[in-house]
Amino acid sequence: MTARSTKFGVDEKERFMLFLIAPAGIVLVCFEIIPILIGMNASFREWSLVNPQRTWVGPKQYIAVFTDPVFLKMVLPNTFVLMILSVGVSVALGLALASLLNRPFFGRAIMRTIILLPLTIAPVITATMMRWSFNDQFGVITIFLSCLGLPDVAWLSDRWPSFALVIMTDIWIWTPWFTIILLAAMQGLPPEPFEAARIDAATPWCIFRRVTLPMLRPVIIVCVLIRAIDAFRTFDQVWILTGGGPARSTEVFSVYAYVLAFVDLDIGRAAAAAGIGALIMLFVGVGLYRLVNRSMEVSR
């Protein structure tokens, strides 16, 4: 019998595993854990970028953020509306496009490539393109809509049109991501349930609703979970398109924290806002995670 060599209560196999994950662990500690701890420390201090005295003030910064009417009445609702609408519409469109691309037709390969294009463009560039396309004087889309005889819309200067544009841009960027993942999932589904449904004379819509969708549910929920967390921290599109305006009416969580940090140069309050955002996301993430688990069990 060969005794397994142990050192510090860790056997050779475990040591090898630790060795393999060590680089990722070091990166995680250096670039995630330590900055988070520094940020949390900053959130309990009066910390202006201009005059970094770093005076300890306890929960003052958290109270200030929680009692800020802009944060409560504008920023949080906007963030969740953006998250729900963007993720909801993107997943619906992604599912529709994946279903279309899952069928054989002439030029399918080209279509797949074209649909992926928005994902290959940096969000900053997409947002800049949208901003100028919807410019009220020179915008290509504004002029096109005007030529169709449609009434002029102040796309970027009124609250709801500009917020709609932010959501549209986010959907434009993220629909291809849903499409590609759902398409891959569809192509991995077993053919038997579909054949059985066709023998039972089920309509295509019925097959989609009763067979495809339930079988895709775990994938959809994982996608929604990942994307929802990502949508909560959307910054580029909002900052470039509206800057959170007009008059902060399209401000979302990341823009709120950015303005505190880089316009007001108030690192302490910005860190508190970021901490609150992380807590909110933790609750939302745990909720969605439980939903995923439950759904997985149901689908098994």
Binding site: S48, N51, Q137, S157, D158, G245, A247
Partner: protein
């Protein structure tokens, strides 16, 4: 002697020669990094510095930064004590007071004090030493289309501006009467030039920038005073009822506003004089050669034209090693002592020369300069910023409040402005 020995000796001699050459050249050439934004007048001034850098055997590395990240980046660099990023930085009066404690006093730079009275005060340390030297004077001015409006018919009042605009619009000569930046940080080109020309300001007493006097007056916001309400109503009408300005103007930076003016779609704009060169550049502007400058039209409560005049400057971080500080100061001194370069900067951009001695040369030879000088420097002046820690926050609150008023009903303007008053007061007193 074998071939190998000969080769070895040749390599030794060659290597030694190269080492001597490279060390000599390294000793002779100092490298300086200059950090700035891609603004026409800064680019023109950097060209002067480059010319002198070559002359002084200084290698000038240029770091161009986006305006939106410039201040946080530079502030972080200065407060962390880093001395390996920027040796010369662009400095603006808006944040000159905040940064002064981290910057090298520049009293020993030749010609540093050759500026208009009071222009370097925002850059002073506690003991009154300047931490910046001028690169230009930034001042807003009314630009107009000389092919559409004769000098005799220039608007003197806001009412004139509206009437002339509407006439030109009705004759289909332009799409818009007036266009200007209105979004946050572009407040100067719409709300503020009219505010200052209606005997009004952000805090009472109007035009005061001495923090002690403002504090003695309780940092009283003027945002719901009649002069401010009148100003907001003027812009509401311009956007919504009289329609002399595009309704989307609340979102415009100077980029959008300049694009519309340069496309020939507007009769008037207010912008920094430093865009005169761009407006008259035929490659960039369809109205090149048809652009004139004029004094601001005044509001009903005005007691005379007020212009804003401030310096954009160059500064040197305090933490630099002495040899780089000396080289940077020498370079800035050379720029300030270069009349030809400064006149070239004026010709290219419309940015006034940093050294006021050069103004006298232009006064003799340049009709456009004489006109600009009369418009800008003869009337009373106001500083475009206030000089306390939370000024950027107050500026944003002010901008958001005014834009909210523009998007609401006309009858709600006074109430909307009053709602912003507490935040504007709190911004100034937060650090008391």
């Amino acid at each position: 002697m074998g071939l190998e020995n000969k080769l070895a000796r040749a390599l030794l001699v060659g290597g030694g020669f190269c080492a001597v050459c490279s060390s000599t050249s390294a000793q002779a050439e100092t490298a300086l990094s200059i950090c700035y934004i891609n603004h026409p007048v800064q680019v023109a001034n950097v060209a002067i510095l480059e010319k002198w850098a070559a002359n002084q055997r200084v290698k000038l590395n240029k770091t161009v930064t986006s305006y939106t990240v410039y201040l946080p980046k530079i502030t972080q660099m200065l407060t962390s004590g880093a001395n390996d990023q920027c040796d010369i930085i662009w400095n603006n009066d808006d944040w000159g007071q905040d940064l002064a404690q981290y910057l090298e006093p520049l009293e020993d730079v030749p010609n540093a004090r050759k500026v208009e009275v009071g222009q370097l005060e925002p850059f002073h340390t506690a003991d009154g030493k300047t931490t910046a030297v001028s690169m230009t004077t930034t001042a807003g001015i009314l630009f107009y289309r000389t092919d559409l409006i004769s000098e005799a018919k220039l608007p003197k009042t806001w009412d004139d501006l509206v009437k002339i605009s509407q006439t030109l619009q009705s004759e289909k000569k332009v799409k818009w009467g007036y266009v200007g930046g209105m979004s946050y940080t572009n407040t100067f080109f719409s709300f503020w030039w009219t505010l200052w020309n209606n005997s009004c300001d952000v805090y009472a007493p109007a035009y005061e920038r001495d923090n002690k006097k403002l504090a003695a007056n309780g940092w009283k916001p003027m945002i719901y005073s009649p002069c401010q309400v009148q100003t907001a109503e003027f812009w509401w009408d311009a956007l919504n009822s009289k329609k002399i300005s595009p309704p989307g103007m609340t979102t415009y930076s100077r980029d959008e506003a300049n694009a519309i003016f340069q496309a020939g779609d507007a009769a008037f704009t207010v912008a920094d004089t430093t865009f005169l060169g761009t407006f008259n550049n035929a490659e960039r502007s369809s109205i090149a050669g048809k652009v004139g400058i004029a004094p601001f039209p005044v509001g009903p409560m005005s007691n005379g034209v007020h212009t804003w005049i401030d310096v954009w400057g160059w500064s040197i971080p305090k933490t630099l090693p002495n040899d780089r500080k000396t080289a940077a100061k020498k370079l800035l001194g050379a720029m300030l002592g270069d009349p030809d370069g400064q006149i070239e900067q004026w010709n290219q951009t419309g940015g006034p020369p940093p050294n006021t001695d050069v103004w006298r040369t232009l006064e003799k030879n340049d009709a456009t300069w004489r006109r600009l000088h009369t418009i800008l420097f003869k009337p009373d002046h106001v500083h475009a910023a206030y000089y306390f820690r939370n000024w950027a926050t107050v500026h944003k609150v002010y901008s958001d409040t005014l834009i909210r008023a523009m998007k609401g009903k006309r009858e709600d303007i006074a109430a909307t402005l009053k709602a912003g008053s507490d935040a504007i007061h709190a911004g100034a007193t937060a650090n008391d």
